[in-house]
């Protein structure tokens, strides 16, 4: 009833630029507002989206708290810690596979595929679902907002394939990535802004699945990373796994091998282990309780903090080795540090606090919320990138050396680890055979001397060289690591000036074709989603119209001619009936008819309003 509804013309939705901490365990978004970053949360919510996905038998996948709630009842269709799978291959997962309660394989491109309910999903597709849910939560914190673009954080020690996979995830989620920022760097930004801290700082970031340590110099708004080190397969999940292992050992006599590998058992053990770990941060002991009636299990076991600490000690040692290397690369002694900042939920573990204090020789700074600091820093960086301030400058580094495999399998280094980004190196190549039209090379990342021990980023193929005698071609290949830490390769044949084509086949990455197909599928789903929303909107509209007609029934009965009166009654009945179904076209045409049929009534009422206004009556009295 467009004539009598006095709609306030709303402006376009507010387009916001946010920072997203896409975590192994939890994800969170923040926004820069009133000169500081704030976490985006709805009233009464923490804003934290558990990075968990559940695929119900019917309908759209659940993400976040709802999904986590399904973990025990529906373990086989509930996915955790997908971040650990980004940009990885089966060989990288080694010992972790046996603890994963779902089927996982590798496709021809070396990309992992997780099978759920007969459908396969790649890690970027799964991460896209989490990103989307995080953005929806962020938008819900506002009345009317949409995400224009985002800064997304990754572990500093993520290699190129893992960064590419993160960017693919954002693309699949329909988010424009403004920048990929390293988590400890983002944390340092939040720390520096909040505490006005200056000097040389170590950020020790132990999250759910990854560990990073970065040494930074903070001075006059310049946040300069001197060195970084880490382990992208080490985090709180591994602490949980230690307790799962303890549970397994204790139950080995009681349960069969099949039961011990059962998804329901694994998921329940994993959740119990996580609970136990958290409890042991405040209590000296905790009783683990596992109840699985299906396999007749009702088990209680007391775990002491001492026992837990003994078991995680080798893992904490590994983080200390990383710290030692980062300090050595930065050329800094622990005593020269002005502050040590702990980031990530796993730094709540008392042993981690004690060991960092012992190693760095000072109590660590723990005032910032370790769960929020990364998202807050990302929002601050988003503000810089949007041109909001030039007072802050981040100078980050590439965590791993970049090299080429040479004849014999050795690595020739092009870019050293801890080089400030962006950085580039140009190398000359030539041909070995007369008329050779292409050159292949294998790009690797890592610190080992042999290419086989490093991580291959992919085989790059230069093609389209003009025919020339052997050794005559001069191909200049430029390797550029950009401010996101992402590699791009360009090549030019210098004698002929031909710009050679480079074909890239990443070792563990989605090809352009894969991406296109997934995006298309995404659009198809999006159009379904759109239809569903449209149906809901139309039903709501019809509901309002029916109410309006009912409210003005007396006026209709008194003032409408019989023909119009009947038309209106029929149209209202049809519209009301259409609302029982879900057919978009039917509902839409019923709404249109109803609107048409209500015009005479609207005219009558309008007339009334005008008269009412002249007579000094308010609208409510009409």
């Amino acid at each position: 009833m467009g004539y009598i509804e006095l709609d306030v013309l709303d402006g376009a939705p507010r387009r916001i630029v946010i920072g997203i901490d896409l975590g192994t365990t939890n994800s969170l978004a923040a926004l820069w507002e009133d000169d500081r970053p704030v976490i985006l949360r709805q009233e009464g919510s923490s804003g934290i989206i558990p990075s968990v996905i559940n695929f119900p038998a019917e309908g759209a996948p659940l993400v976040g708290k709802q999904a986590r709630a399904q973990a025990v009842v529906d373990p086989q269709h509930t996915l955790f810690s997908v971040k650990r799978l980004l940009g990885r291959g089966l060989a990288d997962l080694r010992g972790e596979l046996k603890d994963l309660p779902y089927a996982i394989s590798e496709n021809a491109n070396g990309v992992l595929e997780i099978e759920v309910r007969g459908q396969t999903y790649t890690p970027p597709e799964l991460s896209a679902l989490i990103l989307r849910a995080t953005c929806d939560e962020a938008c819900a914190a506002f009345e009317n907002a949409e995400i224009a673009s985002a800064v997304i954080t990754v572990p500093a020690y993520f290699d190129d394939a893992q960064r590419q996979a993160t960017r693919d995830a954002a693309r699949l989620a329909g988010i424009e990535v403004l920048r990929i920022v390293n988590e400890p760097t983002a944390a340092s930004l939040a720390y520096g802004l909040d505490q006005k801290g200056e000097g040389t700082v170590a950020i020790y970031d132990l999250g759910g699945g990854t560990f990073d340590v970065s040494i930074l110099s903070i001075e006059g708004g310049v946040f300069r990373v001197l060195a970084t080190n880490g382990d992208t397969q080490l985090g709180g999940d591994d602490f949980d796994r230690v307790i799962v292992e303890l549970i397994r050992e204790d139950l080995a006599g009681e349960l069969s091998a099949e039961d011990l590998a059962d998804p329901a058992f694994l998921q329940a053990a994993r959740l119990a282990a996580e609970k136990c770990k958290i409890a042991l941060s405040s209590d000296p002991r905790h009783e683990v309780h596992l109840s699985l009636p299906d396999i007749g299990l009702n088990w209680r076991h007391r775990v002491t903090r001492e026992e837990f600490e003994k078991r995680i000690s080798p893992l904490v040692d590994r983080t200390m080795d990383c710290c030692r290397r980062a300090l050595a690369d930065a050329g800094i002694e622990p005593s020269e540090l002005d502050e040590v900042v702990l980031v990530g939920g796993s730094t709540r573990v008392p042993l981690v606090r004690a060991r960092t204090e012992e190693f760095f020789g000072r109590p660590p700074h723990t005032e910032l919320n370790p769960d929020e600091v990364v998202a807050l820093g990302a929002a601050a960086q988003a503000q810089v990138l949007m041109g909001g301030t030039r007072d802050i400058l981040l100078m980050d580094v590439t965590p791993l050396s970049l090299g080429l495999e040479t004849v014999g399998g050795a690595v020739s280094k092009l870019i050293e680890r801890n080089s400030t980004v962006p950085c580039s190196v140009t190398e000359g190549f030539t041909t070995y055979v007369d008329g050779q039209s292409g050159i292949d090379f294998n790009i690797v990342q890592g610190e080992r001397e042999m290419a086989a021990d490093c991580r291959s980023l992919g085989r790059f193929k230069l093609t389209g060289l003009p025919p020339m005698p052997a050794g005559m071609a001069r191909v200049a290949v430029c390797f550029h690591i950009d401010a996101n830490g992402l590699l791009t390769v360009t090549a030019k044949e210098e004698t002929s000036g031909v710009r050679t084509e480079i074909e890239v086949s990443p070792s563990h990455g989605l090809s352009e074709g894969d991406m296109e197909a997934m995006l298309q599928a995404g659009f198809d789903n999006a159009s379904e989603d759109f239809d569903r929303r449209r149906v809901a909107d139309l039903k709501a509209e019809i509901g309002t119209m029916l109410l309006a007609v009912k409210k003005n029934q007396t006026a209709a009965d008194e003032k409408l001619d019989p023909e119009s009166h009947k038309e209106l009654a029929d149209a209202a009945a049809r519209a009301s009936k259409a609302c029982d179904g879900d057919d978009l076209d039917e509902i839409r045409s019923a709404r249109d008819e109803f609107e048409q049929a209500s015009l005479p009534l609207a005219a009558v009422l309008m007339d009334h309003v005008v008269k009412g206004a002249i007579q000094g009556k308010s609208l409510d009295e009409v």
Partner: protein
């Protein structure tokens, strides 16, 4: 010195105009000294180098050019990479020496692999100590490792000073001799980093 096509100010560096902030595109790759606005030579004031790096990065960094479109962002990526590369060359004694040697047409490490004769005897001695220390971790060997590290550091400083003196002089002398002296420093660096690796390994295996 050329002028900025946008505002006409004199360019202190070929990469960006410090007057109006316009990024400049250059056909040729400028020398690291040109990039950072320093006088070509061995002696570099590290405080000035650091200040210039930050001043230029504040102008060129892609963080500040992304909103001006793809072309500006790419030029910012390129120019900042040049600033970073120039800084790492000039901030590192060996890389700076390498650049100066290459610029005066001295032989590359592949073309001239020799080290000065008197140095070779010492190398043999050091290698002996290193082998023994590597073989067994004992408190005695630990202190020998530390002693070796100090000796190598002292030798490195001396060799570098000698080479630097020549490079700064009006006539640096025979390029082949310079290359041999630089080879000494590079050899010492490799050995020192091996020693550091060894020390890190020994301290990290202590706990296991």
């Amino acid at each position: 010195m050329s002028a900025c096509p946008d505002c006409g100010a004199a360019l202190q560096t070929p990469l960006v105009c410090e007057g109006c902030g316009a990024l400049q595109s250059t056909a040729a790759i400028p020398s690291p000294f040109e990039v950072l606005g320093l006088v070509r030579g061995w002696h570099v004031d590290s405080a000035e180098l650091g200040r210039n790096l930050l001043r230029l990065t504040r102008l060129t960094h892609p963080d500040f050019h992304g909103i001006h479109g793809n072309e500006a962002r790419q030029l910012a990526e390129r120019n900042t990479a040049l600033v970073n590369s120039a800084y790492s060359t000039l901030n590192d004694d060996v890389l700076r020496a390498e650049w100066l040697l290459a610029d005066m047409g001295a032989p590359s490490p592949d073309e001239e692999r020799q080290m000065p004769q008197q140095f070779l005897m010492e190398v043999l001695e050091w290698n002996e100590v290193l082998e023994e220390v590597r073989a067994e971790t004992t408190p005695d060997n630990q202190s020998r490792l530390e002693g070796l590290r100090t000796d190598l550091q002292t030798q490195r400083t001396a060799s570098l000073e000698q080479l630097g003196g020549r490079l700064q002089a009006a006539d640096p002398g025979d390029p082949r001799t310079l290359r041999q002296e630089l080879n000494t420093v590079r050899y010492l660096d490799r050995t020192l980093s091996e020693l550091n690796e060894l020390a890190l390994e020994q301290s990290s295996t202590r706990g296991d």
